[in-house]
């Protein structure tokens, strides 16, 4: 079964303001995007589980024009606060890499 890292064009994370992290999975063509969407694997619940946050705190947007799925969730601490590990939030995508997509 392919993993997200095998079929995505882009898997990235970044701050969306100092208090939120936004994670994008972008696909290279409409067919792949539609297939991934049809599996129903990418959901708010998946991101809640991977990032250990309540499901209701995940803002999840399938974004067809960009062939992408976006999830925005709270940071562990705000950017630059005590104990922050990633001020830009640019290296928080790894938990998604090995998510299996049954297509």
């Amino acid at each position: 079964m392919p993993k997200l890292k095998d079929i995505a064009l882009v898997l990235k994370s970044k701050n969306a303001g100092p208090f939120e992290l936004t994670i994008d999975a972008v696909f290279g063509d409409r067919e792949t995007f539609d297939k991934v969407a049809a599996t129903g694997v990418l959901t708010p619940a998946l991101f809640a589980n991977l990032y250990n946050v309540p499901e209701e705190s995940v803002l999840f947007t399938p974004y067809a024009p960009g062939l992408a799925f976006k999830a925005t969730l709270p940071r562990l601490v705000s950017a630059g606060d005590v104990g922050d590990t990633d001020v830009y939030g640019a290296q928080q995508h790894a938990p998604l890499l090995n998510v299996e997509i049954p297509i």
Binding site: K14, D24, L50, N52, G66, A79
Partner: protein
């Protein structure tokens, strides 16, 4: 109605752009040149300290070319969110650079400076009257939070820019603004509808980030009644359906709904159309005005003074019992710091283990270390720099020399790459305010000074 054309030189003033792109952009026809200079992305230091994000030399280079092109072609220049944080010291620094360039190049114009720092008393009054609310996932604040803030800025909307341009200012520089606000203001002032004006601002705020291949460069956007057309002046770059759609994902909580002062930009029905092999037209966006106008507030407070040291271990015995080891070391440090008369509540000691969970902390899915070496960053945050330095010095010695079960490496547990090993980092800030406030009107938080240069 005639098209309105805008040229953004780069994602952040001082990131650089090819001079040829500016020249080509102007040749494409342009009504305003600008660059956003701000972001919260590099963290709270810039708002807290009032220091600029980019070097003076790089900022001056980027701005000089823009000012020359503007004066030569009788165009306005708009630079927003001076110095990254958009505070008063950063605005004053940018004004000095503008004056310096004008003097060196013999340029003359009317300059507008739009201020964004907010009076704490006013912010507290708004809080007390229930007209301040947190942004999503921002913590609640009280009057003490406001008092503690090093600096509070409002993120201005388009109206102050429209006012400054109406007053005949040719060079407009501002404190903190929302990224698309200056562009939306220039466009709406030219009688363009709000929805494409705001969307144009979204496309312009990051320079050529909406074009491929990536790289700091200019972007040209044309606004008309129906929508916007984006095209990079650099012939080696292209806007494609994918590059433009993907750009909408960048640093936003949603790729389709953008909250801005005065309303919500809704791009859920946006249509993307390739008009040439290098230009994309976007139509169908909507602007939904709010009942009550709001401005975002950003504030940063001092959280202490930082000192750090970097080291690593290559000892498998130590790596296998790293957590236990650090716990023992912490005990010794607490004792020895107490011995020199430093109170345990005046500092915090943080160990970061790279090769284990230094990047993701408790969100790291793989858990414990498995590599043959472990990088360690020891950090102290204290009430003053001297305390931070003292605690770090004690922490360094104890991290290097403490015993642990089965220890073979009895001369030292850590490899330190540098002498001196300890680095004093100075003041450290945190974002303490990230809220929206209801002002009396879109302008009163943002006074404007005019100056003939």
């Amino acid at each position: 109605m005639a098209d309105f054309r805008m040229l953004s030189t780069s994602g952040i003033l001082g990131y650089g752009y090819p001079e040829a792109s500016l020249e080509r952009g102007v040749a494409m026809g342009v009504d305003v040149i600008g660059a956003d200079a701000g972001s919260t992305d590099p963290g709270p230091h810039y708002l807290g300290s009032g220091k600029p994000l980019n070097s003076r030399a790089a900022t001056k280079r980027d701005l000089r070319l823009m000012m020359r092109a503007a004066v030569k072609n009788n165009l306005p220049v708009v630079v927003s969110s001076a110095g990254g944080g958009g505070g008063e010291p950063q605005l004053q620094d940018l004004a000095d650079i503008v004056r310096e360039i004008a003097a060196e190049d013999g340029l003359h114009f009317k300059m507008a400076m739009i201020h964004a720092e907010q009076d704490k008393g006013w912010v507290k009054d708004r809080l007390a009257s229930g007209r301040i609310k947190p942004m999503r996932n921002a913590p609640p604040i009280d009057a003490a939070t406001i008092d503690r803030a090093e600096r509070i800025v409002g993120c201005m909307g388009p109206e102050p820019f429209m006012t400054a341009l109406d007053a005949g200012a040719q060079i407009v520089i501002s404190g903190r603004a929302t990224d698309p606000a200056p562009w939306a203001g220039a466009s709406m002032r030219a009688q363009m509808p709000a929805a494409p004006s705001w969307y144009a601002g979204k496309m312009l705020e990051c320079g050529a980030a909406s074009a491929w291949p990536k790289g700091a460069d200019c972007i040209h956007v044309t606004v008309n009644d129906d929508g916007v057309v984006c095209e990079p002046p650099n012939p080696e770059k292209r806007c494609t359906l994918a590059s433009v759609a993907n750009f909408a994902l960048h640093e936003n909580s949603s790729p389709e709904l953008f909250k801005e002062p005065g309303g919500l930009l809704d791009a859920r029905k946006a249509r993307f159309e390739q008009v040439t092999d290098r230009a994309v037209r976007i139509t169908g966006m909507e602007w939904n005005p709010d009942d009550a106008y709001t401005i975002k507030l950003e504030g940063a407070e001092l959280m202490g003074y930082r000192a750090i040291t970097i080291c690593g271990t290559r000892d498998p015995g130590l790596i296998s019992q790293y957590d236990d080891y650090i716990e023992i070391v912490r005990g010794h440090i607490t004792q020895k710091v107490g011995d020199v008369g430093i109170s345990p509540d005046s500092y915090r000691l943080i160990y970061r283990a790279y090769g284990r969970d230094g990047v993701m902390a408790e969100r790291e899915p793989l858990g414990g270390a498995s590599g043959h070496e472990l990088g360690i960053l020891v950090e102290v945050l204290a009430d003053d720099q001297e305390t931070a330095n003292t605690v770090l010095s004690i922490a360094r010695v104890n991290t290097l020399h403490n015993d642990f079960p089965g220890r073979l490496c009895r001369e030292g547990n850590m490899a330190f790459p540098f002498s001196p090993s300890d680095i004093a980092c100075g003041p450290a800030y945190r974002f303490s305010i990230y809220h929206i406030v209801e002002p009396d009107d879109p302008l009163h938080m943002f006074p404007i000074d005019y100056e003939t240069v």
